[in-house]
Symmetry: C3
Subunit: 477 residues, 3 copies
């Protein structure tokens, strides 16, 4: 590697489009038809406080590096200490000017580690298109780029709301804890000077994991915020339903769920009551806790048929694989590792009950690509309630997205998929992520046109639907 | 979507061929060498009665829509009621003219759901090449297309036998129950005016599932048709062997097997006897029934070494995933969902005994694509009896077929694969399915030529072998 | 097939490079920059005695056919008897001239079986580039090719050392048993006339499988060669450490491990002692033996943090799937079949302890491609000690290598992968295997350039690093 060279950033107008000239011509036309459409982001992790406060971002490191576990993990693998990158014991910490600059230099000196990864692609395009930077990151350019971004961030057009508008975001859904009072969402909705739509998402994972050491404390807090006694199972259900109502009242359109597996087997009511009571006494077993959580997936679907919140599943990641990293830096610090997942049997109890219910929408995401053609596409091609989520996290990347379309489309078409979600903490990467998806879908559709599987006007409609009608319908926006 | 437009059908001569000009030129030459060769269809689901009676097909819906679960499932996901599509409680039902026309309209109005799927490809090409239709299905063209097809179906050249000849089918194997008397096959063989070869296939699945509620009734019927007492295990084996003999006498070349897994572990004879007796008393457990069925896979291989029937496996689909759909519409109504499958351990007992036997041919199909490079190709590249089946059902589609060749060829070459099977109930789609396979194999071979992994004349021979000598040898035709 | 034709060998300068002209141009430039760089082969199976003795190879069959299980398996599947190919009960045997010629004819007559496989590619290029042969193998050319190779082998420039130099091999690691005295390695190191670097690799698999019938005999022999009493668990560890020291003294840089799964769960010391003692008494259970072997993987990592030997894992192959083949021809005779493997949970105990240790390097290989994007790339993109091994054995082939880069790069980049290893017994195929890898990496990088994910100079650096700095660093050369 040779990261001391001064290279130009290559942010070509045709980037990611197919290379073959006949296919590229079609892809350009398809991409042109969608590139300027508003961004619908129905699943994201941007802190809504940023938009409420609308204060200038402090510096490049705290904006672009420290909070992004996609970046941290690779720099860690390359030898960097997370602490030197602005990662504290339980999330990002603000480094002083010297520290922030040093962290930025570590990123730039190790930029070759990201070759071939979407992180490089997102950085390159963000640097070029958001900040007008022309040189590629390297040891030689680290300080200059830092200065250029830092300077930009002091200008009004780089404040959060200005960027929100500039990015053309029409809807942004955040991810929120059931205990959250959603004050930022309320503030934004009430603010006549902010015209964007920022919605909360109900993410109750930790309340459904009865074996967590802090679980009984959590359901105690749940009782307080919902004003419903969670001393028994019925109260617990009622408290959750109350918080869903509260979230919906604040604009939520979906609930999000991420557990170790995709199980949905319901329990007998008496068993659920019994396990719940045991958990409150601190006597629940691992097996009971898992069974209860799977039961609650079925209950969540039942609630969804009543309140209409879309249900999204993001299962099968082993969190905090490295115990030392967890101890030093807390969760979401780069050592979450995906694992195999099974859906055909796991979802059957839920789908067999609610899979064709007119008020349920279930969107299933995976990092285990083997299930796309084998399980998810066949189910979404039959059950009315089910849609296949686009690639997520590690596989939100050009080739993986191409594999996704290749694996899902032949069995489920385009209209049983979810539309793009960015799932990102990196606010500034939202436009390039959505743009990447549009380019890749244009390329895939162009291939279908070039091999006469789709006419050009069908492809144009489909490209348009993928970023407009499909996410709007799937997420009930 | 915008399915009210009037579009032309795009059935280009180069469809599905590689786009790159140098590769396309080679692919065209390879495809030209195979496109007009006779169709060998060694595994299909066409009702042989159609060819015996040779009566005109009634209408487009009952011919092309109601019997085809590939189509039903996607329309169901899109919101259609199966009953409105001509699906009855236990198979297709004949709709009246108004109903048939309404069902057809549902298909055409929802045609966008099939974009990117082979169903659209098969329909487009069948409409254009069999019926000479020029407009794409949509709300605007539904009635016109219905009328055009309905009118064609009244003409002699659209009767079953005329189509059979026009399609160039040299061999067509149907799929048949052991109880079947095979009268249609006998009639066709005896009919000097019919020169095609229509063979039965022995499909004993339900007789091997001892936990089925109707199993003891089934073996009772088996006793009657075979004239062998099935009151004990020895009689059961003898009755099965007798029916295999009967099928073989009527032209059968293979038996077909589809169970939940691929297990082949034999039982001790005494255990098999004991479990069989328990099942007759209605006292078999799930575990015993599974063990017996796996044992019978080994027994089937043993029988195959004696009578020479090719053994085809199509495992690992969870049938009738949606219980409500099963209750209302019976089996094969669109809610079968594939699942993961394991072959390396599962097939070892069978292959360790019979895997190199000169009279056994075992063809293994999968919808779980992960096993192609990991398990099936390595086994077929060693065991003389084993061949890798081409993609089946959900993955009988352009990209999946390309993935299959990409995953299998490097480990097992071309000559350890099965040749194409269409596995279809949709009689009219047989030519386009085989043509699709020939186009895709031409494209794959052309890529090998273009990257100098194969010479053009090797590719030409291989393309020819894939549709002639290979299926002829594998299926002992 | 038609293997009696006389065809020319097609060994084009652009073989395996992308076909699209703009991409090919870039790929040519990238390939040109690496094609003549020295070969680093850190994991191979070449017998070091060949280089010590430097005697002429006897004949084409014993050099190119009999020892190569990649070739034997496919010819076996095609109907050949392994005995006729020069395979004896426990490895290759020398056939007489008539037998060797007959074996060679079997290969050439069945050459069509290898179409689309890398075996054909390696043979074609070896024939053309090493021996200057111009005609493709077939029944018509079998004898002529045999004669041409046999004649070449009598010339000095085809002796092992001359080929070693001609191939440009700078480092060659062999695979060796802990009992081996490494005399050939010592002889080569001491020989001033031999300037190559030939290193042993510590491969202790059978000493870690306590349920093997010959295990207690093996640890007895281990005691003798190490001069450490292996009568208890502590002695066993010490003896292994002593042999590692001996191997390292003889130049070893790595240990290699191939077991049924990737488990690394450590045992309590007392349990390890107890199981070891039980095994010595012949009373170990299958479960205990597996647990002990997994424990030893963790112990191996611990040793590696002390002596620095790189640890390579090649798990999850069911050895000797065909018992009859094992009985007649011993191990490595073509019937090893891969199986599914799980790494996320299996490696966690090891990585959680040592995954970021500065002195551990762990390289993980797989034939189960599903784990690349799901498990291996995510782990290698976080843990400093871990690298993803390139495709191995059945999947060391053009399309599989392309899939590997496609699956791994987006999550782990290039710098967390291992560099190419050839893993071959076929000495003469070493240059074409490394050349194949360089061509394919050039093609992959060219695609990234053509779609503007990488600049040309980044691609040039990366191509160079993949065959120089990366293997040098990963294998501590």
């Amino acid at each position: 590697m040779n990261d001391h060279l001064v290279r130009s950033l290559d942010v070509d107008a045709d980037r990611l489009l197919p290379v073959q000239p006949e296919v590229r011509t079609v892809a350009r036309e398809l991409y042109a038809a969608t590139k300027d459409l508003p961004i619908i982001s129905p699943h994201s992790h941007v802190p809504p406080q940023w938009l409420v406060a609308d204060e200038p971002f402090t510096d490049p490191t705290s904006l672009l590096l420290s909070p992004d576990h996609y970046v941290l993990r690779m720099l860690h693998a390359g030898g960097a200490e997370l602490g030197d990158l602005g990662r504290g014991p339980d999330g990002p910490v603000q480094l002083d000017e010297a520290g922030a600059r040093r962290a930025w230099r570590i990123l730039c000196e190790n930029y070759h580690l990201f070759r071939g990864t979407p992180v490089k692609y997102w950085f390159d395009t963000t640097f070029a298109e958001v900040f007008g930077i022309t040189q590629a990151p390297s040891a030689a350019t680290a300080d200059a780029i830092y200065d250029e971004i830092a300077s930009a961030l002091t200008r009004p057009e780089f404040r959060p709301r200005a960027l929100f508008d500039r990015f053309g975001i029409s809807v942004l859904a955040t991810t929120d804890d059931p205990l959250d009072d959603l004050a930022p969402h309320r503030a934004l909705a009430a603010d006549p000077t902010f015209t964007g739509r920022v919605l909360p998402t109900f993410r109750p994972d930790r309340f459904l994991e009865l074996a967590r050491p802090d679980w009984s404390d959590l359901v105690g807090q749940l009782a307080r915020v919902s004003d419903v006694d969670t001393g028994d199972y019925a109260g617990y259900l009622a408290a959750i339903e109350e918080r869903r109502r509260y979230f919906k009242e604040h604009g939520a359109v979906s609930s999000d769920h991420s557990h170790a597996d995709a199980g949905t087997q319901p329990l007998e009511h008496a068993d659920a009551e019994r396990i719940y009571a045991a958990a409150l006494r601190g006597e629940v077993t691992r097996e009971e806790a898992d069974a209860f959580r799977r039961h609650m997936m079925s209950e969540t679907a039942r609630m969804a048929t009543q309140d209409g919140l879309v249900m999204t599943l993001h299962p099968a990641v082993r969190r905090n694989h490295d115990p030392d990293n967890l101890a030093r830096f807390g969760a979401d610090a780069g050592s979450d590792i995906p694992m195999g997942v099974e859906f055909t049997h796991a979802l059957q109890p839920l789908l067999g009950r609610y899979g064709n219910h007119p008020d349920l929408t279930l969107v299933v995401f995976t990092i285990d690509e083997t299930v796309y053609s084998r399980e998810l596409a066949p189910m979404a091609g039959f059950y009315r309630s089910m849609h296949v989520g686009v690639p997520w996290w590690f596989i939100d990347a050009p080739e993986a997205i191409r594999r996704f379309r290749g694996a899902v489309t032949e069995t489920a078409g385009f209209y049983r998929t979810s539309g793009f979600i960015d799932d990102t903490r990196a606010f500034l990467s939202i436009p390039t992520r959505h743009d990447m998806s549009r380019r890749l879908d244009a390329g895939y559709l162009a291939e279908l046109v070039a091999t006469h599987r789709l006419s050009l006007d069908e492809a144009l409609e489909t490209a348009h639907d993928l970023v407009t009608t499909i996410p709007t319908k799937v997420f009930k926006l």
